[in-house]
Amino acid sequence: MTVEGWILIALFVAILLALAKPVGLWLFALYEGRRTPLHMVLGPVERGFYRLSGIDPNEDQSWRRYAVHMLIFNVALLLFTYVILRLQAVLPLNPQGLGPVSDHLAFNTAISFTANTNWQSYGGEATMSNLSQMLGLTIHNFLSAATGIALAFALFRGFARRSAAGIGNFWADVTRVTLYLLLPLCVVLAVFYIASGVPQTLAGPVDVTTLEGARQTLALGPVASQEAIKMLGTNGGGFFNANSAHPFESPTALTNLVQMLSIFLIGVGLTYTFGKAVGNTRQGWAILAAMMALFLAGTAIVYWQEAAGNPNLHALGVMGGNMEGKEVRFGIAASALFSVVTTAASCGAVNAMHDSFTPLGGMIPLFNMQLGEVVIGGVGAGIYGFLLFAILAVFVAGLMVGRTPEYVGKKIEGKEVKLAVLAIAVLPLIILSFTAIASVLDAGLAGPLNKGPHGFSEILYAFTSAVANNGSAFAGLTANTPFYNAMLGVAIWMGRFFVIVPMLAIAGSLAAKKYVPETAGSFPTTGPLWTGLLIGIVLIVGGLTFLPGLALGPIADHLAMIRGQLY
């Protein structure tokens, strides 16, 4: 570990903390439906979209209507992308003349992009035409992110409103977030990426004759426009197979830093927006503090392990940290930091191959996802996931002091706690059962590249990443098979929507409740005691279930590595 590495990590955190309030305030304006300076330019677009679609943006929707409209929209998007991918061979902007995407791969990819997961069963440059990348995939990067933020807004309204029937308007939330936040930021980011060396062209691959006279073909395409939203919307699906490790996706250490900041930017801002929505910004800071503590602990472990390196390589006379799967321009610190950021959020972009990390260095990304990606988390999904844990935390605190739990002015009763547990239980239930199935069937066992405990880690990582809607991989796993495409596709869908529906039910139930003023007997939900309790609940409820699985995978792998046992 180096001083420069720690400066990078400190600077990263400092920039985010400084941006939390301005971004949070901007999001708050969108949450409230207020006018922003951008309305002058994009207001007509917004109104035109509503008019053409027969939408009344002022209609206050019940949680059921909000949920149904969200689901139907997502199904429409999914079908749209499935059709584009299947038909890409006959559609324009296909300079490589690629054939149609196979049915099981198109199924997997359409689901995965709809659900903000962006699992890459495909190798981008060899599978997807430029049109598929733009029309099939980029739109999901925007809309799955906007859906996540809209859902967070809906839950915020549940806490903030009093005796209300509705939780907002889904279409208005999605449209405003897309037009006034995601799109303008992406325009700025895309121009920055192009200036830094990320290609943006409709042309096909270019042939080069290398200095030694060999032939190399470089895939090009509209990369920068996809890259911008890929990170900002915590999507993570790369234009290229190697994702942000590819020099065309992230050519410099500066693009790498901007990408990491993009991943966390909206998630951090939303914690402030939450505080603002419930009328006490300290509520937001308390949540952010708990998230940051978990984040820094994870970063320290990965950085330490990766810098220490692989003793089996040292024995051969190799010096230095673990560089297998890492790029020289990023080095160990920025690769370790990126891996924690991308899995703490539901991004899943990678700038280094997690499969080749040291066992414990690779375990932290896995564990981050198993916690439900609530450490900052995906755009929207992180904060609503975390608020589910907050509901459990006040419930546990209420049991300890023998009072009905309250949170930010709302009584938390049996119904909310049951729904929260339901949403939280989805993760371990699907991850562990699907991993178990894949670990005994021949079709599942055919997947792993690595043998021994690391092979099991590859399977566990895949289902964890799918259900948690992350999309990063221990990419040695051969996942582009009917078995894995189908299993992972189903896992992704359940992981996304089996959490969202109970969460919206909580929002509806809370919105209908009266406000309960804070009294001397209320359990304070700001301050270090609360932050500590939150961390404890996240680790115990979210993490403990996975300990046996982690013992069989990364921990066994670590013990094998230090003993020099190879597979």
Binding site: G5, F49, S53, G54, I55, R64, R65, H69, F73, F80, G123, E125, L135, F142, L143, W171, V174, L183, V187, A190, I194, G197, Q200, T201, P205, V206, V208, T209, T210, L211, E212, L218, P222, A224, S225, F240, A245, P247, F248, P251, T252, A253, N310, L313, G317, V318, G320, M323, E324, K326, V328, R329, F330, M353, D355, S356, H454, M561, L566, Y567
Partner: protein, 197 residues
Amino acid sequence: MGSDLKTAFRPAISMTILFALLLGIAYPLAMTGVGQALFPSQANGSLITQDGKIIGSSVVGQAFVGERYFHTRPSAAGADGYDGLASSGSNLGPTSQALIDRVAADVEQKRAQGVTEAVPADMVTASGSGLDPDISPDAALAQVSRVSAARGLAQVDVRDLVERSIQRPLLGFLGEDRVNVLELNRQLDRLGSTTAR
């Protein structure tokens, strides 16, 4: 519930089409236009032309196998490495026998090529993309004796060239010390021709 469903279809279909036009067509095309107008070189892949031929991209690595050039890192992109249509890492885990065998073979080869010290990690590990354009300064310096012998150049000149080619981190901490191999090898070719003259 029934009315919730019935009212959902029209906006769902209509908004899918409208957003597809805005985000899937207008946005990437506008960015392509802006990129091509303002930064044409970068937008087209930062290609380097030499003697009328495209010889590579300044941001993407390419394979070097001959004795006369500095070598890039091992690559898992495609069957032969540095395949620009198949970016990939090796994905081998830390306890993989295949990884240890590969590294052991590479270390042996480096020893045969005159690397006497501890081998820099990046020299015998595959990058994440398989297209890493850079190597560490240590990895470059370890190749000086081989390259200068193959070219009949003085070691001190080649070492000088490497040291001049080291790119430092932005602001001192952003990134790593590194050497762009294609750029270094192009300089090397020029060094050779000036000495010969």
